[in-house]
Amino acid sequence: MLIPFETNIQELCLIIVSVLMFSAFRPEDDQDKGTVEECRRGSRKAFDILVEKYYKRIYNLAYRFVNDSEEASDLTQEIFTAAYQNLKRFRGDSKFSTWLFQIAANRGKNRFKYLKRRGYFANRSQGDGQGDRDSYQRELPDNTSNPENLLAGKELQKLVRDAIDELDPDHKEIVILRDIEGFSYDEIAKILNLPEGTTKSRLHRARMVVKEKLKKVLS
């Protein structure tokens, strides 16, 4: 059957338009794009480069969820393993780092829920001495070197940390991303796939909860 001339032209135009739309509306440049493409083709070496670049930050994020170095190490390995296995599902419509932190936030929140159900944080709060966690904590900035102030600072951080552990997972997640890890509102919105306004309002509610707990203790 002879294909009409118009149909061929229309099909050709449709293909060209599709290609142009795909090219025009691709996301902004990602510095890791080339490395990610190599990973997709099966390069383990390329993935090691990405691990080297992001593992410290991912570890910090994981640590804030679980407050334990062993748990954090295990969680971080789980995050990178998940990224390695699911790299082919990464569509490239966002930066690789955003996608990686999405995995980290989801896995961290899930791990936090799991541990909280098992009473992990309650037990640690009751029996917590100085431990290895406090050795990582710096005192609150204070103009004096008064030991009492230093102790108060450490105590305060412990109080705040305990208050954060008592938050619900969504509030803890956003407090970790913004106040502890220092992500911008725009980055948080992309990681959590939320509007920026929702991000801010959620952060405000989380801070208010921490504030209330702190206020009870301080008063």
């Binding site: 338009v17 142009l20 997709r40 691990v51």
Partner: protein, 311 residues
Amino acid sequence: MSECEITSKLFLELHDGDADAQTRAQFNDHLERCPNCREDYECYQIAVKAMNSFEPVSPPPQFLALLSVRLDAVGAPSPGFFDTIRSFFATAPRMPLPAGVAALVFVGVLGFYLYDKAPTNMKWESKPVAVADPASKPVLGKAKSPGLVAKGISPASTSSSGMAVLPRPSRPAVAPTPNRLSRYSMPNADSSGGRGRSLMAVEPTVADQIGADNLTVESPYIDKAVESVKRMLPDLHGQIVKENARTSGGEVLLRVVIPTRSYADLTTNLINLGAVEAGAGAEVTPPRVYKKEPSKRVLHIRFIPPRIGLK
């Protein structure tokens, strides 16, 4: 909402420094007057400051080694078909958005232009709706005018293509092709008079050479028209005695023998379908008697492509 509630909602905005001067002034004014809100805001700031002061933690020294072992155990994922396609597009050079939109618009305009200018060889003309127009019924009578013409065509309605297909005789007659046919008069039929007028004055036709005992069928689909006439003839007990091959001008000529009694039916059908023009000539003569069978008549039917410029 109380003033304290409004103030507490501004904590984040004030702490981030995003509030305008007026809001900040109102906020500070309220804090001066409300010790509870003042205490709340101080605790809020302490809490945020404490969270901001958490020092980064370092992974254990053997972390990368442990991770490498774990990844080796998992194994490398194999790239799928869609990954290959996706990687092809991902490696394409990035186009700035304005250029992409401009290219999109250009392709869209080009596509519409080409579609509009595309050849019309695949365009199908819609067949005319079969509507019997009493006014178009031929007036039958002795042929005083040269040949046969159709009647009842409204000059206002124009169609440059003529009739596409001639149906079988059993189908209802359709409205005649407009604007090129004058009143019809026919031999051996009642006629209200009136002379048919030649429509062939523009240029000489084969009919001029053949004579008046012919019918001219104008159609853009000559093959279909010929087939229609061929299907029509058996019902009228007619037959084709000669068929000339298509000329360079696209014309086909059929020499038809048909019983005298069926001649009127044949011409009526052709006329009513609006596909018939008159043969030109100063005089009109009845169709010739078929010598082999005197009860039959010889008729030439000429099929021509649509012509323009005729009234």
